[in-house]
């Protein structure tokens, strides 16, 4: 039980995530991908006569069960399988983030940015609301996210997915190094 409660190293977690690819294929010809679930939610709840959302989303409902499972898995892991505490970060990351004004390092997310009390501050709004919007817009425009492109796409040797993954990383590097220092100042 102690081993389970410790954070898992990359060489356990990565291969396990990789095995989801064949599991989904063998269980029903499903391609690993999460961001499509956001499209299915739009198609199910707010199609608004937009042609992009006019399709039989019920045929893709497995994907909604999958993401509901992720939520439940998050709950189980956090409340039954974890020892709480700060993330064992590289000290240089902590120093850099402290210099940029991040104060709370006690959990998985900094509470001084991601909490309801911060939602209506400019910084909180950018990180909680605008950030989410960019994730939803960008992944759909790109045709997939880290799971659909980086893992499923590259695993099946599709070069457009490699291009998309490189762009994810470029976008992330540019943001972290050149934009985030300003966003954290708000």
């Amino acid at each position: 039980m102690d081993i389970i409660k410790q954070p898992w190293p990359w060489y356990i977690a990565g291969p396990l995530i990789g095995l989801i690819v064949p599991a989904l294929l063998l269980l029903g010809n499903k391609a690993f991908g999460i961001s499509s679930s956001l499209r299915h939610i739009c198609a199910a709840c707010i199609p608004a006569n937009i042609s992009f959302f006019k399709y039989d989303w019920k045929k893709e409902s497995w994907n909604l069960f999958f993401v509901a499972g992720i939520m439940a898995g998050g709950f189980i892991a956090t409340y039954f399988l974890s020892a709480p505490g700060p993330v064992n970060l590289n000290p240089n990351t902590i120093i850099a983030l402290k210099q940029l004004g991040v104060k709370d390092f006690s959990g998985l997310l900094p509470h001084d940015i991601f909490s309801f009390s911060q939602l209506l501050t400019i910084r909180g709004f950018i990180f909680i609301v605008i950030g989410g919007f960019l994730v939803g817009f960008g992944t759909r425009y790109a045709g997939g996210c880290t799971s659909g492109h980086a893992i499923m796409g590259i695993s099946s040797l599709q070069w457009p997915s490699l291009v998309a993954t490189c762009c994810f990383m470029i976008g992330g590097f540019v943001t972290t190094w050149f934009i985030l220092p300003y966003l954290l100042q708000f």
């Binding site: 977690a13 294929l25 739009c42 499972g69 994730v135």
Partner: protein, 136 residues
């Protein structure tokens, strides 16, 4: 009931995401600052295992549990892969989460992230709205 197996697989994925701290905003920062191998190790080894698995499935011509042939949808290149990819990268570095971790964060008790998820749904909806006007 045929969807229960996908729910269970999702639960396993959610547990892995939390236990490996992929859902941590700090871990994503560490990754983009090139200060830890952790995230690169996870994504890289997942790709390698996925690649080997697909190779085996193709080589042995394995079928699904319903005896169907396995088909992997082809992804066709369009410029959205580039523009959308860059925009997602921007959002990823800000929220510290891609879509999978958003769901896992909510399950982990970070209720405020349900706002981020709603906003991501709104972003996807907005893409659907203006899709035809965007360069692809």
């Amino acid at each position: 009931m045929k969807n229960i197996k996908f729910l269970i697989l999702g639960i396993l994925f959610g547990i892995i995401l939390v236990k490996s701290q992929v859902i941590s905003w700090f871990r994503i920062q560490e990754m983009f600052r090139l200060q830890a191998f952790h995230m690169y190790g996870i994504i890289g080894s997942a790709i390698i295992v996925g690649m080997i698995s697909i190779f085996i499935i193709k080589k042995l011509q394995l079928k699904t549990i319903h005896h169907e042939s396995i088909v992997i949808p082809k992804k066709k290149f369009h410029w959205g892969n580039v523009y959308g990819g860059l925009i997602f990268g921007l959002g990823w570095a800000i929220t510290g989460a891609c879509p999978g971790p958003l769901f896992a964060q909510i399950g982990s008790g970070f209720m405020v992230i349900s706002i981020t998820l709603l906003s991501a749904i709104a972003g996807t909806w907005f893409y659907g709205l203006i899709q035809k006007k965007l360069p692809h």
